[in-house]
Amino acid sequence: MKTRFRNSFILLAVILLAAFTLPFFAGEYIIHIGVLVLFYAYMAVAWNILGGYAGQHSLGHALFMGIGAYTSTYLFTRMGLTPWLGMWVGGALAGLTGWFVGYLCFRYGLKGPYFALVTIAMAEAAVYIVNNMSAVGGAQGLEVAWVGREGGAPLLMQFDGKGGYYYVILVMTVLSVWLSSWLIKRRFGYQLVSVRENEDAAEALGVDTLRVKIQASIISAIMTALGGTFFAQYFTYINPRNVFGEGPSVQILLFAIIGGLGTVWGPVVGALVLVPVAELSRSWLGGSFAGAHILLYGTVMVLVMLFMPNGIVGLYEKIRAQLKSRSSNDGKSEAS
């Protein structure tokens, strides 16, 4: 047990070291893929707190991403407020929205497919509302103006080259994984899992299921909104479809599902395995086959649901458990 703990500690240290030194030896394109991996890992970790731990699958998480992206970008482009502060205003608004959505849905006992449908409808309604808000550019969206100084403007979350963005999202991802692994080991985490596994039993044991579900919704919403701000700063352009739409909603949850729902590392593993393959296929086939990378995502999603519904991490744990039981059986077979 002790060696296993030490091994995983060493593994973690090596991965972190590799992640933090990547920009020193990689080119811009590799760093770009690194940014995308980290961004989707971060979003999946955020979604996983409500969708994985608490088992409430939101299919409209882009609602929170959009609130984050639009709030900080509006404050930045129209009022000059740095996104470093604007992201927290967006986070607060998203947290409030997460509370509202959670309260409405869970207060009325919505579960499973019904919850999924309401979240889709809310995100989709947001697309049409923002489409008609001329103050934030309507369907045209908002452009994040480049402040245009040599070396970028780190205080405005604008960097010269991709390295700066890489470190921002790397720190966000490390913190989110840390938060996610910390939460799940606490009383709150156990309460969330009990809600997922058997809500009636959890209620009978005195868990305030409504409260913990709403809390999970708020935490997940705030984290997702912070990611939305990063998205706007990195891609420097947002419109209602690409931050509130169905596309981002699906991409937020995709990697958590493929990596392993409700596990700490699943969302990260999912993004790490899939995003580079998808990006490479996009750059190779993108010219002639637009949509090739989403095609890949869809195919992997269907295959995962058919053959390994617990995702990559779930499969790994199953294999390890089988190996362990086999080796312990070998020991016992002599005695029996």
Partner: protein, 292 residues
């Protein structure tokens, strides 16, 4: 905003005609949902595929749009059966969320296959029916929409008759009420599911052929109609066939009256608000009984 009775009359006529199409699109989803308790999140994408088939027959093959039903309905039946056998059947007993994720994956595949093969272009078929208009006072009745409305009504009636009066239809309904009891009385539930999925998909073929004279197709056209179908099915009550028809009309009217009263595309927000309120307060639908 100027508001007149003519405008209201126009909104009413358009709303009812479009509502008929919404109803036909939704009965397939309702049938599948009612029989096997699966929400097919690729429902809109099935419709999109059918619209491409209809479009190419009309635009490239010179077919009469309504004749394409002979191809779209069987083709969609076949596609539905193939997809059911290969992907839905193995996960029938899985948790509902896995089923949802699988069909979301299917919708991504279909949408992006369309993008790869047909590009992102918006395609509009120009048919003899496209500019066929009648005037009722100051209100324009588009001939193609009227035909689509009547065709939808007929198709929905035939489907209803099939489910109510034929032995196979009764087997499908029995399987939807109680899977185990249906098995006990000798119904082959497996085949029933397959048939229901095929028929639910085929109805989209009919809808696509009826729509192609007045509606464009594009890889993402299924997104909107898929959402509309969920709204209509939830509003009418899961698996409630006549409920879906009435709900289709209600949503059609909401969209068209909303569009004449509200600026821009805000009418759609109205549709989603109705959906959210119904899901929260009456998830069994406005016509459903007590049980959820």
């Amino acid at each position: 905003m100027v508001f007149s009775f003519e405008l209201l009359g126009q909104a009413l006529v358009t709303g009812i005609l479009i509502g008929g199409i919404f109803a036909l699109i939704s009965v397939g989803l309702s049938l599948i949902w009612g029989v096997m308790r699966i929400i097919n999140f690729a429902h809109g994408e099935f419709l999109m595929l059918a619209m491409y088939i209809a479009y190419f027959l009309v635009a490239k093959g010179g077919w009469d749009p309504y004749l394409t039903i002979l191809v779209t309905a069987p083709a969609l039946f076949l596609i539905g059966v193939l997809i059911f056998q290969s992907t839905i059947r193995p996960i029938l007993k899985d948790p509902p969320m896995n089923q949802i994720m699988l069909t979301v994956g299917l919708s991504l595949i279909l949408q992006n296959l369309a993008l790869v093969f047909f590009k992102a272009d918006v395609l509009t078929a120009n048919t003899a029916y496209t500019r066929l208009n009648f005037f009722l006072g100051g209100v324009v009745v588009r001939g193609s929409q009227l035909i689509a409305f009547l065709g939808s009504g007929l198709a929905a009636y035939l489907l209803y008759w099939f489910l109510q009066k034929t032995e196979t239809g009764r087997a499908i309904r029995a399987a939807s009420i109680n899977r185990d009891a249906a098995t006990l009385v000798g119904i082959n539930v497996r085949n029933t599911y397959l048939l229901a999925f095929g028929i639910g998909s085929a109805s989209l073929g009919v809808a696509a052929s009826l729509m192609i004279p007045f509606y464009y197709t594009s890889p993402t056209v299924g997104l909107f109609f898929g959402l509309i179908a969920y709204v209509v099915v939830v509003l009418g009550g899961l698996g409630n066939f006549p409920g879906a028809l009435v709900a289709g009309l209600i949503i059609g009217l909401t969209e068209s009256i909303g569009a004449s009263l509200l600026p821009g595309s805000l009418a759609r927000v109205l549709t989603f608000s109705i959906f959210i309120i119904v899901l929260l307060l009456r998830p069994q639908g406005i016509f459903g009984g007590k049980q959820k």
